[in-house]
């Protein structure tokens, strides 16, 4: 029982990070119907900006951890969303309206550009951050050998993710920007005809997606403490899988998909074998897609004519 709960906490923390990245994939897909393959690398850029911000803050003497965390969050979200905006402006907007594959290839190109740019600018070695948020709490002690514990960083990750998810759902459901986004999702041309500034809406979508990815980057940096220019690839693949599993285009779906992938990996490692956790996660993806081709919460696609 304790073991099951402990693994649940581990899985939720891992899944939350996947989910945060997955939201970026799903949003962009929802609004312009393309897979933004550079999104994983935006996440990586976010982690690097956060690391640099930490180092700069320590250098200028800001050592109170809550204050430093808040400032880093602010700096990383602003700068990373600029990257997200720039990627859209440079690589996707000029191709809007061309055939479907063009922006896809452009996205893969952008992903390579970002990876190599960080590799050249920051070096190819792994960068490390010593543990900043420490401390564990015992949440269940039944007097057995194993007690269920949650660390402060896990609390931080899960709480941040759920707070952002709630805030973001509210933004899409009840603000005028959210209404514009939903309009663009349904029909880009019609939305434009009805006075929605589609370019601005799409830009803002990229901005928000990148900001969420940067939060995921910070969490990753704090949780694992090791980043390199390549982390965006694996995280991107997992998050993309999560988005597809949950139903691409659906926000709660992305979150659900992320948590599911995290939990499957964790429970498979816990009860079967660590070696085969990726095999398990992707096998379940295949099974789900066979029976639910649009993912768990996805809507069946209506062919637009």
């Amino acid at each position: 029982m304790e073991y099951f709960l402990q693994q649940l906490i581990n899985g939720l923390a891992l899944g939350s990070i996947y989910g945060l990245v997955a939201i970026g994939y799903t949003m962009v897909y929802g609004i312009i119907g393309m897979i933004n393959f550079a999104h994983g690398d935006i996440f990586m850029v976010g982690a690097f900006i956060a690391l640099l911000a930490f180092l700069i803050l320590v250098a200028i003497g800001v050592t109170a951890i809550p204050l430093a965390l808040f400032l880093v969050l602010l700096i990383a979200m602003v700068l990373t969303s600029l990257y997200g905006w720039a990627v859209e402006r440079i690589a996707y907007r000029p191709l809007r309206g061309s055939f479907r594959l063009a922006p896809l290839i452009s996205a893969i190109g952008m992903s390579i550009v970002l990876q190599n740019y960080v590799q050249l600018a920051q070096g190819a070695r792994v960068k490390t951050l010593p543990p900043l948020v420490t401390g564990v709490h015992t949440i269940l002690d039944l007097g057995n050998r194993l007690v269920v514990q949650i660390s402060n960083i896990q609390i931080l990750i899960i709480a941040t993710t759920f707070a952002l998810m709630t805030g973001f759902s509210w933004l899409v459901a009840s603000t005028s920007l959210g209404r514009d986004m939903r309009a663009c999702e349904q029909d880009l041309k019609m939305a434009a005809l009805l006075g929605v500034d589609t370019n601005k809406t799409i830009s803002l979508t990229f901005l928000i997606g990148a900001a969420l990815a940067s939060v995921a980057g910070i969490m990753y940096l704090l949780y694992y403490g090791v980043i390199d220019f390549h982390i965006g690839f694996v995280a991107g693949v997992k998050a993309f899988t999560a988005a597809v599993l949950g139903g691409i285009g659906s926000l709660p779906g992305a979150m659900l998909g992320g948590l599911l992938i995290g939990l499957i990996e964790t429970y498979w490692s816990a009860y079967f074998s660590v070696q085969y956790k990726d095999v398990a996660a992707f096998s379940i993806l295949i099974v789900v897609l066979i029976f639910m081709p649009t993912g768990i919460l996805g809507r069946p696609e209506v062919e637009k004519v």
């Binding site: 304790e2 073991y3 402990q6 693994q7 581990n10 899985g11 923390a13 891992l14 590799q119 070096g123 190819a124 070695r125 792994v126 490390t128 010593p130 543990p131 420490t134 564990v136 050998r145 194993l146 514990q149 660390s151 960083i153 990753y220 694992y224 403490g225 090791v226 390199d228 390549h230 982390i231 694996v234 990996e265 964790t266 429970y267 490692s269 816990a270 074998s273 660590v274 070696q275 956790k277 990726d278």
Partner: protein, 369 residues
């Protein structure tokens, strides 16, 4: 159009002319993971090779020719290692120091054997490297069967009655070392409680850590590299575990401590007797320090690899790799690590693994018996 082609031809001729003086030089190679997550070890190899080259050139070079170093990057990836090796072969390099990862050194050595290149690895410890009866493979470090025996014996002697887990990263080096350690441990009558494998590059070990916690593991032996071992340690401490971590020579880099922070304290590892403390190394260590480099891990092993080759070439009177290989096997070589001699396979003839302990300040020192 024609004149443009002429210009191109002249330029090409100029290019050849520029490479002309290279004939009075001997180009040698150093290869290892210069990028990627094990790049800190590639840097150790490159630093060692660079200083050895400078020192040898300052003393007049080899066979009165100056040495020139080409750096190859394999990123610890077998495919890339093979490509790097092919490139060295195409450049007709007579000698390569490297690679670092056993999974790179082994496929690369086959390309070198066919392409007539002598290979001395400063760091690859997997037994297979020298067990295939290739003419060209040498190493300056020990072997994992020796290392595993030392680790297994240490575990058996010091942790009797404790619960031991053995993990490996499925790499040639990691799985091989974990297996040798397991053999030695089992031979001493102790069976591990948990034996698991993870994937190189994994970052999340929380599930594995909880599993070890549930199994009440006291000591975990990791056959793997420092990035994953560091993360496993960090996540064990995050979950409030006091389990002791032990691993092999792939922990011998300060970067391990920068991943774990203060948690590095008490971590055990096996490695050769600290080369920095040998009397033969004192002067060269000083030179490294003057350049702001701490010659830790395999830096001095790489320095020694070039010393052995340079001395053997002088003795042979040619850089012909096959002749040099025969000379190396027959002689005794004075290196920064002391005197080194080889058996017929290309392994060093002394056995030298000792147990180290990491300290909270991020350094490691030999454990006093």
């Amino acid at each position: 159009m024609k004149s443009a082609r002429l210009v191109a031809l002249v330029a090409a001729a100029g290019l050849f002319a520029a490479t002309g003086p290279a004939l009075s030089q001997i180009t040698i190679g150093v290869a290892g993971p210069m990028t990627g997550q094990y790049a800190s070890f590639g840097e150790q190899l490159r630093n060692g090779a660079n200083l050895a080259l400078e020192d040898i050139n300052a003393a007049g070079g080899v066979l009165k020719k100056q040495l020139k170093l080409v750096v190859g990057d394999d990123a610890c990836d077998p495919k890339q290692a093979r490509a790097t090796a092919d490139r060295f072969v195409a450049q007709r390099v007579p000698f390569v120091m490297g690679h670092y990862c056993s999974s790179s050194s082994i496929p690369a050595s086959e390309a070198y054997a066919e392409g007539n290149v002598l290979q001395i690895t400063p760091a690859s410890t997997n037994p297979t490297f020298t067990e295939r009866k290739l003419w060209n493979t040498f190493r300056v470090c020990g072997r994992d069967d020796q290392q595993g025996a030392v680790a297994g014996k240490y575990l058996a002697d010091n942790f009797k009655g404790k619960k031991i887990a053995i993990l490996n990263d499925k790499s040639t080096y990691g799985a091989g070392l974990a297996n040798e350690t397991k053999k030695a441990l089992n031979a001493a009558g102790i069976t591990e409680v948990l034996n698991e494998a993870y994937t190189q590059g994994d970052k999340d070990f929380t599930a594995l850590v909880s599993r070890m916690k549930a199994a009440d593991i006291d000591v975990v032996y990791v056959g793997g590299y420092h990035t994953e071992a560091g993360l496993i340690l960090r996540q064990m401490r995050d979950q409030g575990m006091k389990t002791i971590l032990m691993a092999g020579d792939a922990l011998a880099d300060k970067q391990f401590a920068s991943i774990t922070g203060q948690h590095a304290e008490g971590v055990l590892m096996t490695f050769g007797p600290d080369p920095r403390n040998r009397p033969s190394a004192a002067e060269i260590v000083k030179k490294f320090k003057a350049k702001g480099i701490d010659p830790e891990g395999y830096t001095l092993y790489t320095y020694a690899a070039l010393q052995i080759w340079a001395q053997a070439v002088e003795k042979t009177g040619s850089t012909d790799p096959k002749k040099v290989a025969a000379t190396i096997k027959a002689g005794k070589w004075n290196t920064v690590l002391g005197e080194i001699s080889y058996d017929a396979k290309g392994d060093i003839t002394v056995l030298d693994y000792v147990v180290y302990q990491w300290k909270a300040d991020g350094t490691y020192a030999e454990l006093k018996k």
